[in-house]
Amino acid sequence: MASVTITNVWKYYGKTVAVKDLNITCNDGEFVSVLGPSGCGKSSTLRMLAGLEHISAGDIHFGDTRVNDLEPKDRDIAMVFENYALYPHKTVYENMANPLRLRGESEDLIKKRIAFAAEMLEIEHLLQRKPMELSGGQKQRTAIGRAIVREPKLFLFDEPIAHLDAKLRARMRGELKLMQRRLGTTMIYVTHDQLEAMSMADRIAVMHNGVLQQFGTPQDIYNHPVNEWVAGFVGEPPMNFIDCDIVDEGGKLHAVHSSFKVALTEGHAKLLNGALRDKSVRMGIRPDQISISVGSGSGVDGRIKLTEPLGGDTLVNVDLKGADQVLVKTNPDFSGAMDQACTLTFDTSRWHFFSKETGVAYF
C-alpha cells in the first residue's frame, strides 16, 4: 500500500505537451479517478505512473520512493488495460498466473491467489478457457484478476470498462468499487465517463488539454466547479450558461438578462467582486435547478421549443428572449406543448457565476 505523489509532472511527446505541470497527491488506500475528454493527458499520466512512459519533467513518488527511473516491473503495481491486453495463446489461469510466475512465486501460492481472485470475480468456471472464448465482460474480469493476484501496492485502471455494454458497465462500476474497498489498495482510475468517476472515486482529478482543472471529491466538483469548463464537462445534461449583467439596484445586486432580472443572495453578492458591478458575467445553472410551469407567471418568461420525455424525467428546451436557450429537467407529468409560453424559476441558491473573460468561478 502506498500513497502516490505527482509533483510538477510534465509529459512531452516531441514538441507536443500532453501533461503540463501536474500536481496530484493521492492518499494510501484512496480511489482516485482521473477524468477528462480524450486527449486531455489522463492516459499519459497513468502510463507515467506505470513506468510505460518517461516522465519528461517533475517527479512521481510512491510513498517515499521516487519511481521516475524504475522499470514497470520494479514499481510493484498492477494495471488493467482498456483493451484487456490478455495473452491470446494462454488460458485464463495462465494469464492470471503470469505476473506471479515472473516473480518466481510457488505454484501453491499461485493456485491460492488465483482461486481467491477467481471467486471474487466469479470466473472460476472459466479458468481453462482462452481469451478467444470469452465475452467482453469475462475478458475484463480476467484482466482484473490478473491485476488482483499480484497484490500490488497500486492499481492502475485505464478505462477498463469502456468497451462493455451499458448494463454490464453499470454492474462493473459497483463491483469495482466494492473490490477496491475490500482490498484497500490505492487505485488510480482513468476514464472519460463522468458517471464512472462520480460514482466510484473518492476524489476526482479533472483534466483538460494536459492541465489539471480541479481535484476534489465528486460533490465538490459537481457543486463547486472551479471554472466554466469543469462546470460544463461534469453533469448530465450539461449546465446552462447565460450571459447576464450584474446591476446594482438600491444596494442589491441583480442578475439582469433581457428576459429576467433576478436578485442575488447576500452571500453570493459578497462573493462577487465589487469591481464587477455593472459588468457582464456568465451565469451557470444546471437543468434540474430550474423549475418550469406552463403559462406566464412571475419568474422568467420563456417559450417551449421542444419537449423530450425520457420516462423518469422530461427535458424541455426553452427559448428565452434574445438568442439564449435553456434546458430544463422536470418531472414526467409536465405537459407543455410546442410554442407555448412558460415560466421558469431559478434555484438561486445553486447557481454559479463565472467570469465572462476567463471562465473562473466567482463561487
Partner: protein, 292 residues
C-alpha cells in the same frame, strides 16, 4: 463477407457460362501441369526415348510419350556420380541457414521498427526494402568483392549470408506487419506484470509464431530457387541445386534425363513446402500487401 454467397439464378446464359468455365479450367489445368508432367516422365526416360517425337500432326501417336521403359538411372547417376547429395545438402543448409538467420535478425529488427517511433523511420524502412529490390546483376560485382574480402566465396557461410541479403529485408518487411497487428498493450501488460523489455518481446513471439514459421519456409523457398548468387558466391565449395542442374548442360551433350531428374529433385520439396504454407503464400509473395 464473401461475395460468393450472392444469390445466382439459372439462365440459359449462365448455363453456357458454366460449360465455358469447365472448359477453361480444364485447359488451364493442362497448361499448368503439362510441363511438370513432361519433366517428371522425362526424368525416367533414356536419352533416346526422351528425344522421341511422333511425326508432325500425328495426334493419334501421342501415346509415344509414354512408350518407354522407365529407368531410375538418372537419379542414381545424380546422387552417386554427380554429387547431387552434396548439392542437396548445400541447398538445405544454406537455404535453411539463411532463412533462420533472416527470421531471427529480421524479427528483432521488425519488432523494434514496429514499436519504436523515431525521425526518419519511413526512410529507414524504405531503405531496408530497397535492398531487396536491387537487381542482382547490378550489385553482383561489388558484393563479390565484399564476400571475397571476407574470404566467404565458395563457402556455405558465404552463401547463407548472400541469401540473407534478400531474405532479411523481406523478413523485416513482412514481420513488421505481423508485429503491427499485435497490440502494444500486451507487452505493456507483460512489463507491468514484471517482465523485462526483452521478456516482453519474447512474450508476444508466440502470437506471431505461425507467421514466422511460414516465413521461414518462404525464405527457404526464395533461397533454394536462387541461381545467380549461388553460382557466383557459392561457386565451388557451396554449389546448390539450381546451378548444379544448369551445369549438366555440357558442351559434349546435354544430359536431359539427368537435368529433368535434377529438376524433379529441386522442385518437389519446394512444391511440398509451398503446399504447407499455402495460407501465407499470397501475403509472402506480395510482400505483405495482400492478405488472404
Amino acid at each position: 463477407m464473401a461475395s460468393r454467397d450472392v444469390v445466382a439464378y439459372k439462365t440459359p446464359l449462365s448455363r453456357i457460362w458454366n460449360i465455358f468455365t469447365v472448359v477453361f479450367i480444364a485447359f488451364y489445368l493442362l497448361w499448368t501441369l503439362l510441363p511438370l508432367m513432361i519433366m517428371f516422365f522425362s526424368s525416367f526416360k533414356d536419352l533416346l526415348a526422351a528425344f522421341q517425337l511422333p511425326p508432325v500432326g500425328a495426334f493419334s501417336k501421342i501415346g509415344l510419350f509414354f512408350d518407354f521403359t522407365p529407368t531410375t538411372k538418372h537419379y542414381y547417376n545424380l546422387f552417386v556420380n554427380l554429387g547431387f547429395s552434396t548439392y542437396f545438402a548445400n541447398s538445405i543448409i544454406s537455404a535453411g541457414g539463411s532463412a533462420i538467420i533472416s527470421v531471427v535478425l529480421g524479427s528483432m529488427c521488425a519488432y523494434a521498427l514496429s514499436r519504436y517511433e523515431f525521425r526518419g523511420k519511413p526512410d529507414l524502412f524504405f531503405w531496408i526494402i530497397s535492398t531487396r529490390m536491387a537487381p542482382v546483376v547490378a550489385v553482383l560485382v561489388p558484393l563479390y568483392a565484399i564476400f571475397r574480402g571476407a574470404d566467404l566465396i565458395g563457402t556455405k557461410a558465404g552463401l547463407i549470408l548472400a541469401f540473407t541479403t534478400f531474405n532479411l529485408p523481406f523478413a523485416i518487411w513482412i514481420l513488421k506487419g505481423f508485429f503491427d497487428n499485435v497490440p502494444y498493450a500486451i507487452e505493456e501488460a507483460s512489463m507491468v506484470d514484471g517482465s523485462t523489455r526483452f521478456q516482453a518481446f519474447r512474450a508476444i513471439l508466440p502470437l506471431v509464431a505461425p507467421g514466422i514459421g511460414a516465413f521461414v519456409i518462404l525464405c527457404i523457398l526464395f533461397a533454394w530457387n536462387d541461381f545467380l548468387f549461388s553460382s557466383i558466391i557459392g561457386s565451388g565449395g557451396a554449389k546448390t541445386l539450381p546451378p548444379a542442374t544448369v551445369q549438366l548442360v555440357q558442351p559434349q551433350n546435354i544430359q536431359w534425363g539427368s537435368i529433368m531428374a535434377a529438376g524433379v529433385v529441386t522442385t518437389l520439396p519446394m512444391m511440398f513446402l509451398g503446399l504447407l504454407i499455402r495460407r501465407y503464400l499470397v501475403t509472402g509473395l506480395t510482400m505483405g500487401a495482400v492478405r488472404e
